[in-house]
Symmetry: C2
């Protein structure tokens, strides 16, 4: 509990774990590999975090903090319209995707590779997701959109699509495509009221066979 070292052992572990969990998967990443990459002794990991699970939780925290910095520190300081603030989010995504150590969102990846039935991973990831979506909704409300909840859900879905597309294609251009799609959604929200009706499922009968 010293003041704060330049690169503390805790931080070295956190950075290595974050990178490896995303790049190689969580289950596929052994403790030993994290220690090698962090240049830290085995005992230190367990002295600081106690378990691999706790280390993952700490990685969750740092990933969530990235989003919170975006919404709470960076975007509010932009001298532009609320609409442009929303779009600026996609430029942040593009920077993120372009990093050489971007390998997807640790929340999404963690949910993807863990038990889906009411497990702690889904609970934690879901809670952080709610907090992030709430901040997105605030941004949308500021823009004075007609149906802020619907718009928030559309934008959230586009953001998640961008993250996964960028992970799968390993191309930061996904953020650009997402930004254009977001512009489309925003434009339509300004013109039409809400059109949450007359969707009329067109006889979608399942096509099932082996």
């Amino acid at each position: 509990m010293t003041k704060e070292a330049r690169t503390s052992t805790e931080e070295k572990l956190l950075l290595a774990a974050r990178r490896l969990f995303c790049r190689a998967g969580i289950h596929a990443t052994g403790i030993t590999r994290i220690l090698e990459e962090a240049g830290v002794a085995r005992g230190s990991l367990y002295a600081h975090y106690g378990s691999k699970e706790n280390l993952l939780k700490a990685v969750f925290d740092t990933e969530a903090n990235m989003w919170f910095r975006w919404f709470d520190l960076y975007l509010p300081h932009l001298k532009c319209s609320p609409r442009e603030r929303i779009l600026a989010l996609f430029d942040l995504l593009e920077e993120w995707f372009a990093k050489e150590d971007f390998f997807g969102c640790v929340f999404i990846n963690a949910v993807a590779e863990h038990e889906k039935d009411s497990r702690w991973v889904k609970d934690i990831a879901g809670a952080y997701r709610d907090q992030i979506i709430d901040r997105l909704r605030s941004l949308v409300v500021e823009s004075g959109a007609k149906d802020p909840d619907m718009l928030t859900q559309k934008l959230g879905l586009i953001i998640e699509g961008a993250i996964v597309t960028a992970m799968v294609t390993q191309n930061s251009q996904a953020a650009y495509i997402a930004r254009l799609a977001a512009e489309d959604v925003l434009r339509c929200m300004e013109c039409s009221p809400s059109q949450t009706k007359d969707v009329a499922p067109p006889t979608a009968t399942a096509v099932e066979s082996a």
Copy 2:
């Protein structure tokens, strides 16, 4: 190599593996658990598939076939406009998400939990993704859109966003949100020519610190 049993051992293994790989993750799913769920003996799995890796490849095939059935068998038979055919895709997604054993897309989940640096999982998943996107592009071209490539990318991104949102939230409503977003994107593609310019990254300087 008999004709085709009602529920062959091969099929029982495939169904159990598909479900468990998606529900609990691939690495987290042991061979033994698959065998229990399939009600099949250990030796049979290795007689038919030889390895867990081959079993996963077979699961990839079945997942890809679902998409191919949609694009090649179901959608072409719909008596409606190309635009409505595109939107009908989202109704198929909603049916998929609503299934009690939907736990995400096995391709996305597999990429998420495996090594990202040029591994076989990414290659196979990427190849299938290209085939699926190609079929989506054909649908888009039929609709006579101005910029079919851009529209295809936007729709593909929205589809992936829907899949991930549905997995994380465990709510099939994601397909409905995605459909509405797709309608917005389609509407904007009809009105404006292509607007693939004047994006002007608005001073997005990274906000980086620990």
